[in-house]
């Protein structure tokens, strides 16, 4: 069972990413979206990489770019259409907002 996690908030100011991390399992996919893009530079992302493969961490491309956030090469930048596809490639969705 893979869950799609949409993280919309910054871990620098709220617990959403931490709580997501608490329920994350190895096949899950994590999407950084809206202010969740600030998490690209948060230390918690290292802990998350120990639970899921870095291939399973993705960021909405224009959301990161709008916020001036540098996206490391190993993190995939996706579009809204990609996000729609992922919604049906996983079994359920949790929105962390």
């Amino acid at each position: 069972m893979a869950t799609l996690h949409l993280v919309r908030k910054s871990a620098f100011n709220s617990q959403e990413l931490l709580q997501c991390c608490q329920v994350l399992t190895s096949l899950d996919i994590l999407i950084l979206i809206d202010d969740g893009c600030y998490n690209l530079n948060h230390d918690l992302l290292a802990d998350i990489k120990e639970i899921i493969s870095v291939k399973h961490i993705k960021v909405i491309k224009h959301h990161a770019a709008a916020r001036g956030q540098y996206v490391p090469k190993d993190i995939e930048r996706i579009s809204m259409s990609d996000l729609v596809s992922l919604t049906f490639e996983t079994e359920n969705v949790i929105t962390w907002q």
Partner: protein, 120 residues
């Protein structure tokens, strides 16, 4: 056709926002339609379960009292995240009965069994 089973993940403290009440309303509707619904409490959401609360002192109608009606609505799967309790130095005393305390890993496993997960 099997009915979908809903999980509601409660993440907000009870009084300053309407999230707890808005989440409760959904749980009760699903219960009254005889649709399976499980309740999960994590983070600040665990404050919805602690004892000795009294929303009336805040001039509110205290929706937490309605939690005692869960059994009537066949809402029996209630889970709270152990780590969230520990972070807040809370004991296992709750204002309703039959709350299951689960370590994050088991909490996650239960949560992910549901077809639909809403977070409030």
């Amino acid at each position: 056709m099997a009915n979908k089973v809903l999980a509601i993940l409660n993440s907000k403290a009870p009084y300053s926002s309407t999230f707890g009440k808005d989440s409760l309303d959904i749980a009760l509707i699903f219960g009254s339609y005889e649709q399976g619904v499980s309740l999960f409490f994590q983070g600040e959401g665990v404050f919805q379960l602690i004892p000795n609360q009294d929303g009336q002192q805040l001039s509110m109608k205290d929706y937490l009292k309605t939690f005692s009606a869960f059994e009537f609505y066949d809402i029996e799967d209630i889970y709270v995240c152990l780590e969230s309790l520990q972070e807040r130095k809370l004991s296992n005393a709750f204002h309703i009965e039959k709350v299951n305390i689960l370590p994050a890993k088991e909490f996650a496993a239960k949560l992910k069994q549901h077809d639909c997960i809403l977070r409030f």
